[in-house]
C-alpha cells in the first residue's frame, strides 16, 4: 500500500445510507450499556467515524454492519469504564403524573421503574463477552451466526456465552433482592 497516498474513503452519500440504515438501532444498542443518551449517540458516532475511515481497507463491505456493532459495543464498554460523564439527560427526571385518583403514585412508579434499572444494571456488570452476547441477542434479533460474526467468535461459543450469561444475570438479580 502506498502509505503516502492512502485510498480515499467511499463517497459520503454511501455513508449517509449506512447511517440511515443503522444509526437509530445502534443508539438503542448502546443505550443498553449506558444511561446517558448523549453518550450513546457519541459512542455510535465514534463507531461510524472509526469504521468509515477503515472502510477502504475493508474488503468485505457487507460486513460493515457487524463492524459497526462491534465498534459500538467496544465504545460503550469504554464509556462504561471511564465514567467520564459530562451531561446526563434524564439522570434525575420528573415523574409525569396525571391528575386524578387513578394516577400512578410516584412511589409505585419508582418501584416499577426499578426493575428495568436493576436488570440493565446487572447486564452491565456481566463480563464483557457475556454482556455483549446478551445485548446483541435481546436487542436486535440477531442469529447466533450474526452474533458470532459481530464478536469474531465461533457460533458454538455464542451458545456457551449466552447460557452462562443468563445464569450469571439470574444470580446477580437474585443477589440484589
Amino acid at each position: 500500500m502506498d502509505l503516502m497516498h492512502p485510498p480515499a474513503p467511499p463517497p459520503l452519500t454511501d455513508l449517509a445510507a449506512l447511517h440511515r440504515a443503522h444509526y437509530r438501532d445502534l443508539v438503542r444498542l448502546a443505550s443498553l450499556l449506558n444511561d446517558a443518551v448523549g453518550t450513546c449517540e457519541e459512542v455510535v458516532q465514534d463507531a461510524f467515524v472509526s469504521v468509515w475511515r477503515r472502510a477502504p481497507r475493508l474488503r468485505e463491505t457487507d460486513r460493515l454492519p457487524a463492524y459497526l456493532r462491534s465498534a459500538v459495543l467496544n465504545g460503550a464498554r469504554s464509556h462504561l469504564r471511564r465514567r467520564q460523564v459530562r451531561q446526563r439527560p434524564g439522570h434525575l427526571r420528573v415523574l409525569h403524573l396525571e391528575d386524578g385518583a387513578t394516577s400512578v403514585s410516584a412511589e409505585d412508579a419508582a418501584v416499577h421503574d426499578d426493575d428495568t434499572r436493576a436488570v440493565l444494571g446487572a447486564l452491565r456488570r456481566l463480563p464483557d463477552r457475556q454482556r455483549d452476547v446478551l445485548a446483541l441477542r435481546f436487542w436486535g434479533d440477531l442469529s447466533e451466526t450474526e452474533i458470532a460474526a459481530t464478536l469474531g467468535i465461533a457460533p458454538g461459543t455464542v451458545k456457551t456465552h449466552v447460557h452462562r450469561a443468563l445464569a450469571a444475570l439470574a444470580t446477580l438479580l437474585e443477589d440484589r433482592r
Binding site: 447511517h19 438503542r28 443498553l32 465514567r83 434524564g90 434525575l92 421503574d113 426499578d114 436486535g140 434479533d141
Partner: protein
C-alpha cells in the same frame, strides 16, 4: 432492523429452567422499556456530526480515543488552571498589603516614614481592635485613638504623635518617646461612637504573609522582613480583647542591623474564638517602653461552617484541621454520615436524621426542618437546639406513607421543602407544602441510582449515586442533569444558601465551595477527625 421484541431463546438452553425463563422475560421487558424511554433521536444532527468528523482528518482527530484523551487533558488543564487561579488569588490577597517600600534601602533608624500604611484604603466601617469592647473608652479623634493604643497596648507611656510623619488621613505616626526615634503608623477609622484603631505598621517590621482581614487558620504562617535589636522579633497572638493576656507569645529572628527575612509559625489555640490580633514588635531594650515599634494586624475567624461528623455537630474552619464541637449542641445521629451546611444553622438532637437550616441572618426567625430517625416525621427545630414540636409530621393519608423519610431540605420562608424518601431501597425526592404538609405530585423526582441524595432547594443541585454533583434543569420539557463538579472523590453531602453558594463535602473530608460563574474554590480538606 426490528429492535424489539427480542427473539425467543434458542434450543440450546435448558427449557425447564423457570429461573432462566424468568430472567429472559425480565431482560426482554427491560430492553423494551429502555427503548421506549429513549427521547427522540436527532438522526440528522448525528449524520452531520459524523460527516464533519470524517471530513476533518487531522491527525489530532484521527482516533476517537485519542480525541477523548485530549478532551480529558483539556478539561484537567482547565480545572488545574481554576485551582491555580484560586490559590494564586488567595496568595495575592495575602500579599496585597506588602508595604510599598519593600525594595527601598533598609534603615533601622529612619525618622521619616516612607511606607504607606497597610491596606491603604481608609474604610470607616472597618472593625477596630482598639479600644477593646470592655474598655468603655471613646476617642474623639484619630490622634487620641492612636496615642491610647500606643500607651495602652504597645506599652509606650511617653508616646507622642508626629503629625508631620503621618502619611494619610486617618493614619497617625506615633513615636515611643519625644524626639527622633522609630515610628509606628497607626491606622484609625471613625465609627459612630468615636475613633478606633484598625491596625498598625512600621517600616522596620514588614509583614508579608498576613494582613488585616485575612482569615484565621489553625497554623499561621508569619513571614516578612524585619530589623530589630539583636535581630529579635516578638510575636504575640492576642484575643480580640487586648486588655487580656496573649494567647501565644514567642520570638523569631530577622535582621539586626538591616532588613532581613523572618519566618515563623503560630499555632492558633483551638479554644480561640472570634477575631484575633497578631502583633510583631521590637522589645524596647531601654526599658522605657514595652515595645519600640510594632506591626499589628487583625485576623478574622472563618465563616462558620457547620457539619455533622462522628455524631457531633461541629464548626469547621477553612483549612480542614480545625473542627471543634459546638458548645452545648447535643450529639446528632446522621444516617448519611455527615453533611455540610451554612452559617446560622441550627443544632439538632440525637433523634434527628437530617437537619437543614434557615436563613443565616441572626435577626431573622431561624428554624430548621429535620427528619426524624423514625422515618415518618418531620419536625421543626429551633436554633437553640430544642425540638419544638411535630408541626409538620406527614399524615398517614399522604402518598409518602410507608416511605422512610431520609432527609428534608427547606429554604427560607414557607416555600416547598424537598423530601428525600426511601421507597423499597429506591430514593425518591418529593416536594412538600410546608403549610399543609401535603406532598406535591407534580414535582416528584425519581432518582437514578441507589444513593442519589441532597437535592438542594435553591440550586436544584444534587449528589448522584456516582458521587458527582449534578444540577437539574427542572424548567426543561425533559429535565436534564448537568455535571457541576467532579472533585475526584465521591461527594457525600452538599448544601447551599440563598445566594446559591454550594458547599460540598467529599468522602475524604474535602470541603469545597462552588458558585455559578465564580468557579470552584477549595475551602479546606483533610477533616480527618470527622467520620464522614
Amino acid at each position: 432492523m426490528n429492535a424489539l421484541p427480542p427473539p425467543p431463546f434458542g434450543a440450546d438452553h435448558d427449557p425447564d429452567s423457570a429461573e432462566t425463563a424468568a430472567v429472559q422475560a425480565r431482560l426482554r421487558a427491560a430492553v423494551t422499556n429502555r427503548a421506549a424511554s429513549l427521547p427522540p433521536i436527532d438522526e440528522a444532527a448525528g449524520l452531520a456530526a459524523i460527516q464533519a468528523r470524517v471530513a476533518r482528518r487531522s491527525p489530532a482527530a484521527a482516533l476517537p480515543t485519542r480525541r477523548g484523551m485530549l478532551a480529558v487533558l483539556g478539561a484537567a488543564a482547565v480545572l488545574a488552571a481554576v485551582a491555580l487561579v484560586v490559590r494564586n488569588d488567595r496568595h495575592d490577597t495575602v500579599r496585597t498589603i506588602t508595604p510599598a517600600s519593600t525594595t527601598a534601602p533598609p534603615s533601622s533608624t529612619t525618622t521619616t516614614p516612607v511606607t504607606t500604611p497597610p491596606s491603604g484604603t481608609h474604610t470607616p466601617a472597618e472593625p477596630g481592635i482598639w479600644p477593646a469592647p470592655s474598655m468603655n473608652i471613646r476617642y474623639p479623634d484619630a490622634p487620641s485613638a492612636a496615642l491610647g493604643f500606643a500607651k495602652g497596648f504597645l506599652g509606650q507611656p511617653n508616646a507622642v504623635v508626629d503629625t508631620a510623619a503621618s502619611t494619610a488621613p486617618g493614619v497617625v505616626a506615633v513615636r515611643p518617646n519625644p524626639g527622633p526615634g522609630p515610628i509606628t503608623l497607626v491606622r484609625t477609622a471613625q465609627h459612630d461612637d468615636g475613633f478606633v484603631v484598625v491596625d498598625a505598621s512600621t517600616e522596620q517590621i514588614q509583614l508579608e504573609s498576613l494582613a488585616t482581614g485575612d482569615t484565621l487558620t489553625e497554623v499561621l504562617d508569619v513571614s516578612g522582613r524585619s530589623v530589630a535589636f539583636e535581630a529579635t522579633l516578638s510575636v504575640q497572638l492576642w484575643p480580640a480583647d487586648l486588655t487580656a493576656a496573649p494567647l501565644v507569645d514567642k520570638i523569631t529572628m530577622g535582621g539586626g542591623t538591616e532588613l532581613m527575612p523572618f519566618h515563623t509559625t503560630v499555632n492558633v489555640p483551638s479554644t480561640a474564638s472570634g477575631p484575633l490580633v497578631l502583633l510583631l514588635a521590637e522589645v524596647d531594650a531601654s526599658g522605657r517602653s514595652t515595645f519600640s515599634y510594632a506591626t499589628v494586624v487583625r485576623l478574622d475567624p472563618p465563616t462558620p461552617i457547620v457539619a455533622v461528623t462522628g455524631g457531633h455537630l461541629e464548626h469547621l474552619s477553612r483549612d480542614g484541621k480545625f473542627a471543634k464541637p459546638i458548645a452545648g449542641a447535643p450529639a446528632v445521629a446522621s444516617v448519611h454520615g455527615g453533611f455540610a451546611t451554612l452559617p446560622g444553622d441550627c443544632a439538632g438532637t440525637r433523634s434527628l436524621a437530617s437537619l437543614h437550616g434557615g436563613p443565616a441572618d441572626p435577626a431573622a426567625v431561624r428554624t430548621a426542618l429535620a427528619a426524624t430517625t423514625g422515618g415518618t416525621g418531620i419536625v421543626t427545630v429551633a436554633c437553640d437546639g430544642a425540638v419544638t414540636g411535630d408541626s409538620h409530621t406527614v399524615g398517614s393519608g399522604q402518598s409518602v406513607a410507608g416511605a422512610d423519610i431520609r432527609a428534608v431540605e427547606a429554604g427560607a420562608g414557607t416555600g416547598p421543602a424537598v423530601l428525600e424518601l426511601d421507597v423499597g431501597g429506591k430514593r425518591l425526592l418529593r416536594r412538600l407544602d410546608i403549610a399543609t404538609a401535603q406532598t406535591l405530585d407534580d414535582s416528584a423526582y425519581l432518582v437514578d441510582g441507589q444513593s442519589a441524595t441532597f437535592l438542594d432547594d435553591h440550586t436544584n443541585a444534587y449528589v448522584a449515586g456516582d458521587g458527582l454533583v449534578y444540577s437539574l434543569d427542572v424548567t426543561a420539557a425533559t429535565p436534564t442533569s448537568t455535571l457541576l463538579f467532579d472533585p475526584g472523590k465521591p461527594v457525600v453531602s452538599l448544601d447551599a444558601n440563598e445566594s446559591s453558594l454550594l458547599l460540598f463535602v467529599t468522602s475524604d473530608g474535602g470541603l469545597f465551595a462552588w458558585a455559578p460563574g465564580s468557579g470552584l474554590d477549595l475551602i479546606g480538606e483533610g477533616y480527618t477527625s470527622a467520620a464522614w
